[in-house]
């Protein structure tokens, strides 16, 4: 571990101020500390935000929910309103990590966790995300867990979060405070960047900008579900996950918020898929068409080719479930 400075912030103003110039915020540290021990991340300065007053879950004026950035994954999953109005979020959280990790990991930190790409964690390997310009060893390497959508020739890593996938399906917004004290709201969909030619830049957050909360709109209509296909029953990242909020009204699909994990460098939601579905009568053919749209640019890298048919199956199963249809034999 490289020597580093440590600053304990007392309020958001001092936190963002202290973070200017490339410092890293630390809350639960469930991902950051591992990366620092491996010297995959080597921040000069850590700004500890755990004393900040960001631990509340509150109703918003418009009937939504404001989740403080320091709310732990465990507390969020167990929260009554979340379980009642946003069950997909609760289920996604409980499908992730382990009990111990969920007790430490925070809402803001979860959004910013780094990829699980093996080559990112191994400093003997080339990785454009860790060391820009060094190359991507996952291309041509073991890439079973890697992306089929949104990747680039510079990086095929996936975003590992379950929570973020559910938040995306719920149309969450991310509230931040910048180093000059300004508050910003952004749709979660706009938080993460695709790798392009700069996979080291994973979000649009500015230097010193701190996530202070995640805000959910009022409870959505429709059937909420979280499906996660993975390599073991617990403590495994998603190969494919799908958070769905689907409403069928008068025999037609009225809402189809579909966010995917395990497929892409960011939680993945494709408006064209939803446009394909909305207003239509549910059918196997329609679901296949939606899957065709979703996967139109999907690209496997060898070991992860299976994610393409798997995604189609998971999508269709979720839509069938929401529409009350049976899988044909």
């Amino acid at each position: 571990m490289r020597p580093f400075d440590y600053v304990r912030a007392e309020d958001t103003g001092s936190a963002t101020e202290a973070a200017r110039g490339g410092a890293t915020f630390i809350a639960g540290g469930t991902n950051l500390l591992d990366l620092m021990k491996l010297e995959v991340m080597a921040p000069d300065r850590l700004v500890d935000i755990t004393r900040l007053d960001l631990g509340a879950i509150e109703r918003t004026e418009v009937g939504g929910l404001r989740i403080g950035a320091l709310v732990t994954n465990a507390d969020l999953a167990a929260h009554g309103t979340v379980r009642r109005n946003y069950p997909v979020l609760s289920r996604a959280l409980l499908a992730g990590a382990s009990g111990q990790l969920r007790n430490k990991a925070t809402t803001g930190g979860n959004l910013l966790q780094r990829t699980r790409c093996h080559y990112f964690y191994d400093t003997s390997q080339s990785c454009n995300k860790r060391e820009p310009g060094s190359g991507c060893a996952a291309l041509g390497g073991i890439n079973r867990i890697h992306a089929i959508l949104g990747a680039s020739e510079h990086c095929i890593a996936t975003h590992p979060s379950d929570m973020a996938v559910a938040l995306l399906a719920l149309d969450a917004e991310v509230e931040t405070e910048t180093a000059d004290g300004a508050r910003r709201m952004r749709p979660l969909a706009d938080l993460h960047r695709l790798p392009g030619d700069a996979p080291d830049r994973e979000t649009v957050l500015a230097d010193g900008e701190l996530i202070t909360a995640v805000v959910l709109p009022s409870a959505p209509r429709g059937h909420q579900a979280y499906r996660k296909a993975r390599d073991r029953a617990s403590y495994a990242f998603a190969l494919v996950s799908l958070a769905s909020v689907v409403a069928v009204e008068n025999g037609r699909i009225a809402r189809a918020s579909l966010a995917f994990g395990g497929l892409a460098p960011k939680p993945w939601r494709d408006p064209e898929v939803e446009a394909t579905l909305i207003g239509e009568v549910p059918s196997e053919e329609l679901f296949d068409r939606a899957a065709d749209v979703l996967l139109r640019e999907a690209k496997g890298h060898g070991h992860n080719d299976f994610k393409i048919p798997l995604t189609r199956r998971v999508l269709k199963a979720a839509l069938r479930e929401a529409a009350g249809m049976e899988k044909p034999a």
Partner: protein, 726 residues
């Protein structure tokens, strides 16, 4: 005095005539409270005065020469005491029972991950940071990292058997299968990281390490360092899991000893989890072609089992994949053989049940396939092929209750294969036989009856989480008529009599026999003091009776200690009979029709492995083995990069051991058995039996549920998905 015994003839079960009644009972392990309260100190927890920290540095090329490194620069970093890169460093650990140094040297690089330097600093953080800044330079050479295409391939004679005419048997068979199974590399992934604390007093080295076979480890360490064996003491009183990965001395011990000598301070070296995945031995992948030829009634007329495994150049170990195929089933025409590809990958060696753990995955899958071809119940097929005599050596079998295990297991499980649907899930059942060769090894122990009527058992035997403390106390308590609370057991110190060590499931039988023999010697002395024949002596609760005499043990001891050494040696019975533990596995699984994910719903194992010394620790061993079976069947695969051969998924987040949620209720039953050919206490190995075939029951159940035959372990969802209808 020493009671010596060589196992040349069957032994009558004295332990069935003793009266203390502690053998077989499911007693708690005596060291359990120490472990759960943090008072059992493991190697990495040693803190000696002046101790400093070493961090190993690994090669980052697959093949070539170490040209140099920026050692001077690193030596100048804060806290750094030394940078060591020494030709005595181990390329890889010694193989189990080697008793001599493995391949040594840092200049020639054989695999990505080979230890090439040790950086020592005052604190762990300083050492780790300095180690990360050590930049070796290399002259790279061409490497071969893929066992499938490696050009250097050995075909060991000892693995070759050609009996009769298998090709003809296949051609004439009424039913046959000719299938190829593959298993991936596995890692033991013991919870405790490999760790050593080395300290010197003059010429004498003391090593607190985490090792399974101390008398060999002491010899290996001495040989690696070029010092006399008598100057080395190794201590491993507690080991947090070994599974073969701690059989032989490994790189951290030798590096710690070299640095400690030079610095004149104790040095601790703890491997990181990532280092464990590359620096200690793992299990090879296997490619196994199985051929089974049968007549119309399912009687085997031929068996073929040929495999390809890999290891580093110059390693003599190769996975004995076909070990149980030699004796498990009948069939006059037999062909077994092996290819060992020489590759630039981390070293392979013994991992829990070397041979059977993977060989049985293929053999028992193929037997299931043959049963389907024949439209036979898989238990009937197996029962029909239990040979009267060893099909290759023409010797009898010792105790063997395979058929009973299958029948009683089937009853207890509610064996009723046939797919059914439960929502999104397809449910089915599968079974497989269990078989694991039985071995014993030389082992010594000292048992002292103390004047106060308590006893002390001493041996350099290890307890790697298996229950050695418990069972040795039970054997001594039973033989000496003492409650187990009156027996102290000291283990894991090479200053004590040398034992077999923990490996090959031979520990309980071998070390247990040495304790038994020492107690026999003590009983003879006590009988003499009491005035009766040894056969007539009864010891119970501290009282000796025999003939017409009766005395308290403490009175017979009259305040003095009575000490006896027991020395056990394998003998002719090892060759006179085919010895193995047997059993049967049953699994019920659910396969998701959407995703192809498999969950084991329940599992049962019935085993016959001679006398069971402690029904609780033995059951834990078998449950653990069956969980390994679930891992082999569904989740575990160590991946190596196709270009530089480095271990890719080298942490516990990405090397998928089964977690609790993967483990269903697992039932274990033992059948009553004594194996008089095995050893004087009629036991056989248990620790590895529970894994030997377990995973095949799971994959056979997947077939039952879905009709999909996965032959490429593990059955991850992608392999099942490929066979599921849209």
């Amino acid at each position: 005095m020493t009671t010596q015994f060589k196992m040349d003839a069957p032994q009558r079960p004295l332990l069935d005539r003793t009266e203390q009644g502690v053998i077989h009972r499911p007693l708690d392990r005596p060291e359990g409270p120490l472990k759960v309260s943090g008072r059992a100190h493991y190697a990495a927890e040693r803190q000696l005065p002046g101790q400093v920290e070493g961090v190993l540095v690994r090669a980052t090329i697959a093949r070539g020469r170490l040209a140099g490194m920026n050692a001077e620069e690193v030596r100048a970093m804060p806290g750094v005491l030394g940078v060591f890169s020494d030709e005595r460093f181990l390329r890889n650990p010694a193989q189990g029972g080697a008793g001599e140094a493995p391949v040594q040297g840092v200049r020639e690089i054989f695999y990505h991950g080979q230890p090439i330097a040790l950086v020592v600093a005052e604190t762990l953080e300083q050492a780790r940071h300095a180690a990360a800044n050590l930049r070796p330079s290399y002259e790279e050479a061409e490497a071969q990292v893929d066992p499938a295409t490696a050009s250097d391939v050995d075909r060991p004679d000892k693995r070759r058997l050609d009996q009769g005419d298998l090709d003809r048997a296949m051609a004439e068979a009424r039913a046959s299968v000719d299938v190829t199974y593959t298993t991936p590399p596995h890692h033991s992934a013991a919870m405790e990281l490999h760790a050593s604390v080395a300290s010197w007093e003059g010429e004498r080295l003391t090593l607190h390490g985490s090792y399974q076979m101390l008398k060999y480890n002491k010899a290996e360490l001495a040989d690696s360092l070029g010092i006399p064996e008598e100057n080395v003491r190794v201590l491993s009183p507690f080991v947090g899991g070994g599974f073969g990965s701690k059989l032989g001395i490994s790189p951290e011990a030798v590096a710690a000893a070299i640095a400690a000598r030079d610095l004149g301070r104790p040095v601790r070296v703890v491997m990181t989890r990532q280092q464990v995945f590359s620096m200690v031995t793992h299990r090879t992948s296997t490619r196994q072609r199985i051929r089974l030829a049968a007549d119309e009634e399912g009687r085997l007329t031929g068996i073929g089992h040929e495999d390809r495994v890999y290891n580093l150049p110059d390693e003599v170990f190769s996975e004995p994949t076909t070990q149980s195929t030699h004796f498990l089933y009948a069939g006059a025409n037999r062909r077994l053989g092996q290819e060992v590809a020489r590759v630039n990958r981390a070293c392979t060696g013994s991992v829990r049940a070397p041979g059977e753990a993977v060989g049985m995955l293929a053999l028992e899958g193929a037997m299931d396939e043959l049963a389907r071809v024949l439209h036979m119940d898989p238990i009937d097929l197996r029962r029909r092929n239990i040979p009267d005599r060893h099909p290759e050596q023409d010797i009898p079998y010792s105790a063997r209750r395979l058929a009973d295990c299958m029948d009683q297991g089937a009853r207890a499980f509610g064996w009723s294969p046939g797919s059914r649907r439960e929502g999104e899930w397809l449910v089915g059942q599968g079974m497989a036989a269990a078989a694991r060769i039985n071995m014993v090894a030389p082992s010594e122990a000292r048992v002292t009856l103390r004047g106060d009527g308590t006893a002390l058992v001493e041996t350099d035997m290890t307890d790697i989480g298996t229950g050695t403390y418990a069972i040795l106390g039970q054997i001594a308590g039973e033989m000496l008529g003492l409650p187990v609370a009156s027996v102290d057991v000291r283990l894991g110190d090479t200053d004590l009599p040398p034992a077999a060590g923990s490996g090959g499931s031979h520990g309980a039988s071998s070390a247990g026999s040495s304790v038994f023999l020492a107690c026999q010697g003590l009983r003879a002395t006590l009988a003499e003091r009491l005035g009766c024949e040894a056969e007539d002596l009864t010891l119970k609760d501290g009282v000796a009776t025999g003939g017409n005499f009766r005395a308290d043990l403490v009175d017979l001891l009259s305040g003095g200690d009575l000490s006896e050494e027991g020395k056990f040696e394998p003998g002719e019975t090892a060759d006179d009979a085919s010895q193995a533990g047997y059993g049967a596995f049953f699994a019920e699984v659910a396969v998701n029709r959407i995703t192809g994910e498999t969950r084991v719903l329940r599992m049962l194992g019935t085993f016959a492995a001679g006398r069971i010394l402690n029904e609780k620790t033995a059951r834990s061993q078998c449950q653990g083995g069956m969980i390994w079976g679930i891992g082999a069947a569904l989740t575990e695969e160590l991946s190596f990069d196709p270009r530089d051969g480095h271990a890719v998924n080298d942490d516990l987040a990405e090397y998928h051991l089964p977690v609790n949620a993967d483990c269903p209720p697992i039932e274990v039953h033992f059948l009553d058995e004594r194996d008089e050919m095995s050893c004087p206490i009629q036991t056989k190995g248990v620790g590895e039996l529970g894994i030997s075939g377990a995973g095949a029951a799971v994959l056979n159940a997947i077939f039952d549920a879905t009709g999909i035959r996965v032959r490429d372990y593990p059955a991850t969802l992608d392999k099942v998905l490929a066979g599921l209808p849209d």
